[in-house]
């Protein structure tokens, strides 16, 4: 990850309250030049609110926002050097695509030939040249979103803000445009801040993901780190589909730390504790992702193995999710689609606790 020397966007101690309701709480975030940051979280976590604060569309209660080293806390949106793409596209319905693209420039009084040049460039990058004379109502969803991106592009800004830009599109278009946005970022090398609740978008696009909940950034890290070493149970459960398996139990300290629950005992000697687990008997939650579980013969080589019976089989095309019970809890694991398992079949599963995550029950934090 790029070291943060002079951040492109810097948010310092930002708070936002609506009356007594606190939406964002003393939030700090530094975003490096050219970085692609994804704000990820469930609805109502404040991610869109944070984006609107950066855009200047919402007045903040406390703190400061810097863009390109300039304090823009009290600046109007147009003076912040940002371009924004909205979920509903927000194209001006009565204007043609060309007028939509040029609106901001015309408002700013940019000379005509300069406007034409910038529109030509944006239209070429986004391949919307044939659409320039059409009205938004005559465009498909994907084309509309492309125009919306173009509107941010022509403004020649330092920072792009995306507010769930792909949520209104169908699954196929979404994955196409996802790739296009990634290519666009590579081409432009602009700082981009991208809000989404879709973890696939977050994983595929981001240099770093900020997982948010309740107006607080839970974890800010590279996608792989967040995926493999979630800092708390919320992050662990939010990322990953199918979701991580959780087993509640307790930590037995001693020479070799062990996790025990309902007839299961998992050795933790290979698990990397973030900090000293302390005394024994501490209630905690053991989490492991379905794709990290081996099955059948492969399971025998694993440090931990268990026998169980298949309860439900969910074929998903590329692979199959199998549900069973472990430690008294529902437990799922992935197998190749070719494996045919039926309800009631005995299975042997195994995994390497080094790939697991252990959380304190009380705080939910990673141990």
């Amino acid at each position: 990850m790029a070291e943060i020397t002079s951040p492109s966007v810097s948010i310092q101690n930002l708070s936002l309250n609506y009356g007594a309701v606190s939406v964002l709480q003393t939030l700090n975030l530094d975003i490096a030049e050219g970085e692609f940051i994804v704000l990820l979280g469930p609805s109502g976590c404040g991610k869109s609110t944070l984006l609107n604060c950066i855009a200047g569309l919402l007045d903040i209660s406390k703190g400061r926002i810097f863009i390109k080293g300039k304090n823009v806390t009290w600046e109007e949106p147009k003076d912040r050097g940002i371009g924004m793409v909205f979920q509903s596209y927000a194209l001006y319905p009565q204007m043609t695509v060309e007028k939509n693209l040029s609106f901001g420039l015309r408002v700013a009084g940019v000379p005509k030939d300069e406007i034409a040049k910038r529109i030509a460039r944006a239209a070429e990058i986004l391949q919307i040249e044939p659409l320039l004379q059409r009205k938004p109502s005559a465009l498909s969803g994907g084309q509309r979103q492309r125009v919306a991106i173009g509107r941010a592009l022509v403004r020649d800004v330092d920072v792009f803000l995306f507010d769930e830009p792909l949520s209104n599109l169908d699954a196929k278009l979404r994955s196409e445009l996802r790739v296009e946005i990634k290519l666009l970022h590579r081409k432009l090398q602009n700082t981009m801040i991208y809000v989404t609740h879709d973890q696939i978008e977050a994983m595929t696009l981001a240099d770093r993901i900020a997982v948010m909940k309740g107006g607080v950034i839970q974890q800010l890290d590279a996608p792989q780190t967040i995926y493999n070493r979630p800092v708390n149970r919320f992050v662990a459960g939010f990322l990953g589909s199918p979701a991580m398996n959780f087993i509640e139990g307790q930590l037995e300290a001693g020479n070799a730390a062990t996790f025990t629950a309902d007839g299961v005992s998992i050795p933790l000697d290979r698990y990397e504790f973030d900090n000293d687990p302390g005394g024994g008997g501490k209630p905690c939650v053991f989490g492991i992702r379905p794709e990290h579980i081996a099955f059948g013969d492969a399971a025998k080589a694993m440090p931990f193995t268990a026998e169980s019976a298949v309860e439900i089989v969910e074929p998903m095309g590329s692979d199959t999710l199998v549900w069973t019970k472990l430690g008294g809890r529902n437990f799922s694991f992935r197998v190749e689609a070719e494996k045919t398992l039926r309800t009631g079949d005995p299975v042997r599963i195994g995994f390497d606790p080094a790939r697991a995550s252990l959380f304190e029950t009380s705080s939910g934090n990673r141990m």
Binding site: A55, L57, P77, F86, Q87, G104
Partner: protein
């Protein structure tokens, strides 16, 4: 047909023929009890509403001798347009004997500026209330709405005094101001609701694009709000054109609007009651709102629906 398609439509052996049941569109009977009841009611109600209009038109085309025969529903034996001409140009109201034409032009001079002024102000009000949530916006809005429920009678005399003090009493411009102010609550509500129903992100996009208060209003919002403007125009034209109370209180005989003149013609106590002239005068007075409805009926319905749903 391919075999596949045939096999889809062929009966499955396990289902016997009786289970075949209905297929395709449900048959509809033109003279079903439901249709007779529905259309019967509609026709009846329509007749009920159209009958007075019919009587008015028929009577206005008759001469006085024919009217005295008393068959108000019978069509005219001899069609005459004299009552219409008389109502328009020679009927006497008070000292003036130039018919309704004077009142018509007075009404035009009252209605046009009032409609333009009230809609211009109310649309900006509504836009500001919907999109620029300034401090105290809600309080301001509530006060404005409460204004819609205060009976006019309470305010008539205070307004007389105010107009007298600023020297506009009896003038057309005084009445224009009064109409504009009284149209404000309901029009502001209408526009606010319409602008609230527009996507918030559009407004935000325009702000990011650098448009200000007036830029967004004129270049984004205005071109999108034709339906609600049509509704406002219809409401205001009919309301102001049909107004009698303010017209009679705040103007002088010279500047009486059409409705007041109509009243003076119809309610004159001297001489013969010229029913045909009265009918013609009444239709003439009602013609303007009627024409407006016919021109913009469809837009009206669309705009009302758009503005009314969200509160």
């Amino acid at each position: 047909m391919s075999d596949h398609a045939v096999s889809l439509s062929a009966p499955s052996p396990s289902i016997n023929a009786d289970a075949w049941g209905p297929s395709g569109p449900k048959p509809r009977h033109v003279f079903s009890r439901r249709n007779i009841f529905l259309y019967g009611t509609l026709i009846l109600v329509a007749l009920y509403y159209l009958l007075p209009l019919y009587v008015m038109v028929v009577t206005s085309l008759k001469g006085m001798p024919e009217i005295r025969l008393g068959n108000i529903f019978s069509p005219p034996l001899e069609i005459t347009f004299e009552p219409w001409v008389k109502a328009w140009s020679t009927a006497c109201t008070g000292l003036n004997c130039d018919g309704l034409s004077r009142g018509f032009w007075n009404s035009v001079r009252i209605t046009v500026p009032s409609v333009i002024l009230s809609i211009a102000i109310a649309s900006v009000n509504g836009y500001a209330l919907a999109n620029w949530r300034f401090k105290g916006a809600d309080t301001f809005f509530i006060i404005l709405i409460v204004g819609a429920f205060i009976p006019y009678q309470v305010m008539i005399y205070p307004i007389v005094i105010i107009l007298r003090e600023i020297g506009l009493y009896g003038s057309l411009s005084g009445l224009v101001i009064v109409h504009s102010i009284f149209g404000m609550p309901i029009l502001t509500l209408l526009f606010r609701n319409y602008f609230t129903s527009m996507p918030e992100e559009l407004f935000r996009a325009a702000r990011v694009d650098g448009a200000g208060f007036w830029g967004i209003y004129l270049r984004i919002m205005l071109p999108m709000s034709l339906p609600i403007f049509v509704v406002a125009v219809i409401l205001q034209v009919t309301g102001i054109w049909n107004d009698f109370l303010f017209g009679v209180v705040y103007t002088r005989p010279d500047t009486y609007p059409m409705t007041v003149q109509l009243n003076n013609i119809v309610n004159s106590v001297q001489g013969v009651k010229e029913y045909n002239v009265n009918m013609a005068a009444t239709i003439l007075t009602g013609l303007v709102p009627l024409v407006i409805y016919f021109i913009s009926g469809r837009l009206f319905v669309r705009g009302i629906a758009a503005g009314a749903v969200k509160g």
